[in-house]
């Protein structure tokens, strides 16, 4: 009778969420470049990320 290969490590990793397609999709190089409107969108929908003073100052220096 064939014995099953131990899969503890595999099961552990799969249970932790590794194996989904999210990361793979994220690291594939794309072409879309988010613009400044993304900042406003994030402020409208709080996500834990915040626009700091230094980022705002930086944007001021890039305004034409």
């Amino acid at each position: 009778m064939k014995t099953a290969k131990p899969t503890n490590r595999r099961n552990f990793l799969l249970a932790a969420g590794l194996g989904g397609a999210g990361v793979a999709a994220a690291v594939v190089t794309g072409t879309r470049k988010p613009g400044r409107e993304k900042i406003a969108a994030a402020e409208a929908q709080p996500s834990g990320y915040h626009v700091t003073e230094h980022i705002q100052k930086y944007y001021k220096t890039t305004e034409i």
Partner: protein
């Protein structure tokens, strides 16, 4: 009438199991975030990424990074990266494993790393000026060991484990802790959370074999 068909040899690459492919992807992602600041393409793809199933620390950290990526662009990320890792004088956060390993000059991990990388058939690319113990480079090495590369098979798990425990486990954990606490960190707090959660999984999973 008979047709002649030229048959080109096909190089078959064995598919990685999904969890191993995901490990390789995570290392690629960490390299993409820490070798240099993330490109606009990487940020956009992160912003569009789906969730990781479950309530694990990695799933929560991942969602934080995805949400933060929706609000970030490459220029702002580069600004933050420079403030954290490339400030004039002493950078607030060191990106070198040797720093976190309390490396003595006489037995600096870079010395062992150069020999270890050579034994693995790897070397720093000619255009790279950073020392071998740059954490971004170490993530990239792990990506190659886990997922392989064109013409190169993934390394055996024992080899991955040895490299990870020798150079990354302690240093990366300390690096991500320091980064998460850095007052200059904003977007990179989320990158640190993902890195710390993933490294914790790696450390635990290597104990299971």
């Amino acid at each position: 009438m008979s047709a002649q068909v030229a048959v080109a040899p096909v190089a078959m690459q064995r598919m990685l199991p999904p969890e191993e492919a995901a490990r390789g992807d995570f290392y690629a992602l960490l390299a993409g975030l820490f070798v240099t600041s993330p490109s606009g393409a990487l940020l956009a793809n992160l912003a569009a990424a789906g969730p990781i199933d479950g309530e694990s620390a990695l799933a929560r950290a991942w969602q934080g990074l995805v949400d933060a990526s929706k609000a970030m662009d490459a220029e702002a990320a580069a600004f933050e990266y420079d403030e954290l890792f490339a400030a004039v004088g002493k950078a607030p956060i060191s990106m070198y494993a040797g720093y976190y390993l309390g490396a003595p000059a006489i037995d600096h991990p870079r010395v062992r790393l150069q020999a270890d990388l050579a034994a693995l058939g790897l070397a720093r690319a000619g255009r790279v000026s950073e020392p071998e113990d740059h954490l971004g480079g170490l993530f990239e090495v792990m990506r190659v060991l886990v997922a392989g590369a064109p013409g190169r098979k993934p390394s055996p798990l024992a080899e991955q484990k040895r490299f990870y425990q020798a150079y990354l486990e302690q240093a990366a954990a300390a690096f991500f802790t320091a980064l998460a606490a850095a007052p200059q960190a904003n977007y990179y707090r989320h990158a640190a959370a993902v890195g710390a959660a993933f490294m914790a999984l790696e450390s635990q999973s290597f104990q299971l074999d």
